[in-house]
């Protein structure tokens, strides 16, 4: 009897336990969901604009409607390309949500598109980042939902085979999951995304260009651009800010292949959220590496007006392939932080290569003080400096020239008797047979048209009063000016 009782109880107990397990399992299946209050439609924007910061302090259900469009747009001046886009532009729409939000994602594939598409958002935790649940034929829509578990700035892109081609045609964008406490406010927020394009033609080849698979596989892009086209952020499209503003750039790299060395010429990143994460903030960074499929947030305060160039510092991409944009800052100057050019003077350093018989120390020429009435001695002093910078190379510091080749100036009959000819020689050069002090010379004197009237007058005054030469009448700037008028160079000017 006892044994039977035990058996019965045991069996009952087992049964109870089993049903208890069943119950528990069912209860576990309906675990409490995070506190989601309300529904809203996501505000989506085209680059370089960003949706406004999120002000709510609670998680909500966000509905995102994103339409894929395959369409022809400008890649560069005179260059068109068929882009595959999330929302009609490259990069795709900027999506802004908050940590903890539940996102109901609708991917629409326009009926005129040729290809099936899907989406992989790096903010999604789940197979394919959503790609497994959003594969959509043209003329159809897919829906899936996910919870935004991790804050940060994330890339999204199409993941339909061949993936490289879909990305290479422009299918990427950014989704920002704001942390619960939000981001520090700034004056301007901008959306910039780098990507490469691989075209059958060369850079700048006009007309409709097609995708080149071989170049893509070999990682040899034709274009490396910001926001889907050369010049998307230059000229009238430049980003703007005022002196004293804080600027935030949400910068992403769609790739498909190249990593970007993002840099803003003329400024530093005061605060940088490395790799788009909230947990690793750096300060005072000059250039940051953004791999394809990654992003970064940079904050900086602009303090000096001017044009700041955004570049990929792999510099040939910036200047030869299009990876350059402009941030124009307007406002008052701040000469303490940046003075602008303070001086622009002539500089003549020591000769870089050795030349014979140069002994005298060279002094830089002081800037010419403009003056109409100058004393002979002042002209002599200035003229000596000019001579020792320029003329001495041929005529030598001692004015003796080079035997058989360069006529002397010391006690030169030609110099002293033909003042006009001598001035002309400086202005327009000289060639042909010339007899100086009974010796024949047949060389070329190059012209010096860059010397001002006053400088020519000064150096002429100096040579006509040196090495035994004497002329109490100085040469005036006016004389030189008269002689200069309408005087073409007789000899090719090597300085031009």
């Amino acid at each position: 009897m006892k044994a039977k009782m035990v058996k019965t109880l045991g069996a009952l107990g087992l049964f109870l336990a089993a049903s208890g397990v069943w119950t528990t399992k069912s209860e576990a299946q309906s675990a409490p969901a995070p506190e989601i209050a309300g529904v809203e439609n996501a505000v989506l924007t085209d680059a370089p604009n960003v949706p406004p910061p999120i002000t709510r302090k609670y998680a909500t259900k966000v509905i995102v409607d994103l339409e894929v469009q395959e369409l022809t747009k400008r890649l560069a001046d005179g260059v068109d390309y068929v882009f595959w886009t999330f929302g009609g532009s490259v990069p795709g729409k900027f999506i802004r949500i908050r940590e903890g939000d539940e996102v109901e994602f609708h991917l629409h594939n326009h009926q005129d598109n040729k290809m099936p598409h899907n989406i992989d958002l790096h903010a999604v935790t789940g197979p394919g980042g959503g790609a497994a649940s959003s594969f959509t034929a043209p003329g159809h829509s897919s829906q899936f939902s996910f919870e935004a578990l991790n804050p940060g700035l994330y890339v999204y892109h199409c993941a339909t085979a061949p993936v490289g081609m879909h990305i290479g045609n422009g299918m990427y964008g950014l989704i920002l999951v704001e942390p619960k406490e939000g981001l520090p406010p700034v004056d301007h927020e901008y959306y910039v995304m780098q990507g490469e394009f691989y075209t059958a033609g060369k850079y700048g080849d006009q007309g409709l260009q097609t995708f080149d698979m071989d170049k893509a596989v070999d990682e040899r892009p034709t274009y490396v651009v910001f926001n889907g086209a050369v010049g998307s952020l230059t000229g009238d499209n430049a980003l703007t800010a005022n002196v004293g503003d804080t600027v935030r750039i949400y910068f992403g790299n769609g790739g498909p292949n190249l990593a970007s060395s993002f840099h803003v010429i003329g400024d530093q990143f005061d605060t940088l959220y490395q790799d788009g994460t909230m947990t690793n903030q750096l300060h005072d960074v000059q250039t940051t590496l953004v791999p394809p499929g990654s992003a970064v947030i940079v904050d900086f305060k602009v303090k000096v007006p001017g044009n700041y160039t955004l570049v990929d510092h792999s510099i040939f991409r910036a200047f030869n392939k299009g990876a350059a944009g402009t941030l124009t800052v307007t406002g008052p100057e701040n000469p303490i932080i940046y003075s602008g050019k303070q001086a622009d003077t002539i500089y003549a350093g020591k000769p870089l290569a050795e030349t014979p018989a140069i002994s005298s120390a060279l002094q830089p020429i002081k800037p010419e003080a403009p003056s109409l009435n100058t004393a002979l001695s002042e002209q002599y002093t200035r003229g000596k400096q000019i001579y020792l910078q320029t003329c001495f190379v041929c005529h030598q510091p001692n004015g003796l020239g080079v035997a058989g080749q360069i006529p002397p100036l010391a006690k030169s009959n030609v110099l002293m008797n033909d003042k006009t000819g001598a001035i002309r020689g400086v202005l327009q050069g000289r060639s042909g047979e010339l007899t100086v002090n009974g010796k024949k010379y047949n060389g070329i004197m190059i012209p010096f048209p860059k010397l001002t009237d006053q400088q020519v007058a000064d150096v002429m005054t100096y040579v006509r009063n040196s090495w035994g030469n004497s002329d109490s009448n100085s040469v005036t700037a006016g004389e030189v000016k008269d002689l200069r008028r309408g005087v073409p160079a007789l000899v090719a000017n090597p300085f031009e």
Partner: protein
């Protein structure tokens, strides 16, 4: 099949030329096959996605294939004869809401569907029904891919990089609202037109493309979703046109009607 006329000819050699002429005509007719169909000879199809125990080469028996995609004009005839396939009467289970979307009315193609353009916005069920009505069938993936592997000048266009480049170029060109007429291109080696560069085409076993919906992972099928698929690998990762056709077929359901998706028929010998 060709021996018969010869026998006839041998036997009738002593008679007038009429018989010879008749034989020749018969011979020509026999070779040409059904109207507007081309003979695709025996060959081998190299599947794009393979499991470990799949054949690397699938033999394709010779068959007839429509030289052109089925046109709007062709399909209109079908609709007259089969009213239940007209747009306002078709069962939703056999065609989704976009069925014949670009037509003006049940029996009026309208300006967006010119008579000699390929008929699109048709579902797999509609395509199958048309083929059956014509005494034909849809080609299989293997048959279609094999026929389409020929370039204009060679039966094996796979090793012609220009051929692939031309196909890829089509993907870079936008779909026009009104599709152009069939037959404007050069026929391929087998005599078929528009296998590339005009519309995607339905095949009988389109649903044999076992991709779970994330074809980006190079087609590695998920064991959880597919029985027996094992781990499939792509044969030639750089055969992007084939990749894209595969991906496109995977995105389809049988009732889908798509702007640039049409079809053509096949027939056994």
């Amino acid at each position: 099949m060709q021996e018969k006329p010869n026998l006839h000819c041998r036997a009738a050699r002593l008679r007038s030329c009429w018989w010879i002429a008749g034989c020749l005509m018969l011979a020509l007719a026999a070779k040409a096959g059904p109207a507007n169909m081309v003979l695709i000879p025996n060959g081998l199809y190299h599947p794009l996605f393979l499991s470990a125990n799949d054949l690397k080469e699938v033999p394709v028996k010779s068959f007839y294939l429509d030289a052109f995609p089925v046109t709007v004009k062709d399909f209109l005839e079908f609709l007259r004869a089969n009213p239940r396939w007209q747009r306002s009467r078709v069962k939703r289970i056999f065609a989704d809401e976009s069925y014949l979307n670009n037509w003006a009315g049940d029996l009026d193609p309208g300006t967006n569907a010119p008579a000699s353009s390929p008929v699109t916005y048709v579902s797999w069920f509609a395509a199958k029904a048309y083929a059956e009505w014509k005494g034909k069938r849809l080609p299989t993936v293997a048959e279609w891919e094999y026929a389409a592997s020929a370039s204009a000048t060679r039966p094996d266009g796979e090793s012609d990089p220009r051929f692939k480049a031309e196909i890829l170029q089509w993907y870079s060109t936008p779909t026009p609202l009104v599709l152009p007429a069939v037959g404007a291109d050069t026929a391929n080696f087998f005599g078929a037109h528009n296998l590339h560069g005009l519309v995607w085409e339905w095949v009988a076993d389109f649903n044999s493309a076992l991709i779970a919906g994330d074809p980006g992972s190079n087609g590695v099928s998920e064991r959880r979703f597919f029985c027996g698929a094992g781990s499939q690998g792509a044969r030639e990762v750089d055969d992007y046109p084939a990749f894209m056709r595969y991906a496109f077929r995977s995105s389809l359901k049988a009732d889908y009607c798509v702007h640039n998706l049409g079809f053509r028929c096949a027939r056994d010998l």
